[in-house]
Amino acid sequence: MATEVYREPFERRTKTVRYLKFLEGLADTQIGPIYLGMWGALAFFSYLLCVFITLIGWGEQVGWNPIRFLRELPVLTLYPPPPSYGLQIAPLREGGYWQLATLFLTLTLVFWTIRIWTRATANRLRPMVPIAFSAALFLYAAIYIIHPIWMNSWNEAPGHGLAAILLWTNHFSVKYGNFYYNPFHMVSIFGLLGSTLLLAMHGATILATLAYNSHREVDEIESSDEGTHRAQLLWRWVMGFNATAHSIHVWALGFATLTAVAGAIGVLTSGPFEPNWYLWGCRAGITPGIQASCPPVP
């Protein structure tokens, strides 16, 4: 298979290599070997614990009935403790499961970040990937840990479950007066839509220049009239300025981290700094129409 040509130099560095042929066309077919290491092992085991605790909690809720488990899976939820517990440790069935699962989930994410960091430095790479990942970690921490601590109640955090995260999103918005009026949420959405736009532009550009060998990134960069060259021409003609193989990635990273960081700031400011974003919108003069629905409301 021709793909092997491309892989050859890397392949020689490892002993055991497997290929999953059915992945052809979707991804590179090589699978493994994987690096585990201490941080990898820690991340793996704490994630295992998190999943294990979650499954126990869910299993109890359906009386260990597998049919009910499958049927109710979309709505099964480990809830955080009720408000009366504040930040205390709660009994298992009243949020203790949630607290344990969240603890191990947090540890997993931290270990995983360290793992990426050590792998990046071991490869003598700049730590851009772990930095990008920490942006997501920051959003996670803001939602699950920092905001609840500021509000003095774990009850402010989302439950663990499929529907739970959607419900939380809705309820958080409702409680803080309509999250769409939160300026940080606006910026975060801007980043989210921007990243998808950039990703679509980038992906489409690379696929469009396949015929000019852009999949063989290394050598096509060296010759002119090849994929990257044409891609740059395309975007300069369309946008009026050059998107380079470097700039696209700077933009992509910037937009993507903006999404998470702005979102986190939006969550952290809700409550302690602004309890009601709609009223903030009224004060800022960005609510629609003649602001009929602004206070004084009954």
């Binding site: 021709a2 040509v5 939820t77 009720p82 402010e156 409702v174 007066g177 696929l207 050598d219």
Partner: protein
Amino acid sequence: MSVHEGAPPGAVAKYDELQRSILRGELVGLVAGTIMALGAVIAISLALTDVRNEFGLRADFAYNYAGVQQVDFVKYLARQGKQPAQPSAEALQAYSEWVAKNPKTVNVQVLNKYLGEKYNETANVFTYMAAYFTPGVGQSCEYCHNLQNFAAYEKPQKTVAKAMLIMQFELQKKWVNTIPRPEGQPLYHIKCATCHNGQAKFWNTSLKASNPELFGIAGGGNPTPYDMRNVGITLNGVTPSSYEVVDDQYLAARQDADGNINFYQVTANKDTPAGLNATYRNQYAMYHQNTALGVGCDFCHYGGYFKSYVTADGTFKWPKTQARHMQAMMQDIAINWFPQMPSVENPNQLQNYYAQPNCYMCHRGYVVPPGAYSFNEPFVPGVVSDIKPLVDLPLLKPILPNQ
């Protein structure tokens, strides 16, 4: 070509061709997939709309701000393949013998008290019975009456029915007549059919616990008993299997300093206690109202700001203020009326635990309950109920436009 020095001859070209063919395949697949997916979505939506209309599963498409009855009692029954109940031939026979002997009523205590002297005539009582009681509870006269003696309280059903009649009038007087309404909106009346919809036993059934959707209880997301417990919802101290609009927290709701009772306020201000549980409760209740009335949130709310009673263009949301009034009525039914209804098994005993009322009990998926009547018969002024409220639940200060 530094990287490919070791490649077998022709391999690079073959690899390139593979990539190109994949790309071609992807594009064709993408276009075909999009067209098929769009087609399927359109077809399914069309089919569902048809099916739902066919079986009357939807309220009318446009929300009914004018408060006009979309479906009346007869049409509602017809959609389930039923007809309003009629008195049996024996009962009519027995009645004609009774009225010949007793043109004046013997033992009527409620109708004449609320609606006046007119109901001291047996014939008028008969008209009322035939128009509202029999179709309302879906039973002929002998269900409540000993056909030899219409005045006697021999059957427990009649004792229950009398208490129900008082409740019906009191709810009408206290809550429905006072519902804040825009000018020109018709006034409807609670009758037996409003709750019963042509069935004597319709609410305390085991079906209700096992099949909450049928009773309009489970709204979006179908909360499980575990949800109920975790958002702290209880009914008389017990966790219900699904969300009921009435729960202990709201039963205990009392007026605040401004004389307002707020059942479902959750939007944060500086002093709002931490936690999202109240919001979970609120949203379950709201989903229930959606299913019960067959509307979306924007029927009552301005979606930009749920707390508001006014939309962005200044329109006052009458349905929200009306719904708030109804929420208070629900609490009243739950605290004061259902617990005081006698039980059919032993009419000397109170029912104690009637299954909690909810909006669906009357509304059945429509803005105006199918079992409500627009026929208007004024009350005798100043009547006092024989059944005293257990808890004095004050009338809400209505929220009106330009306030």
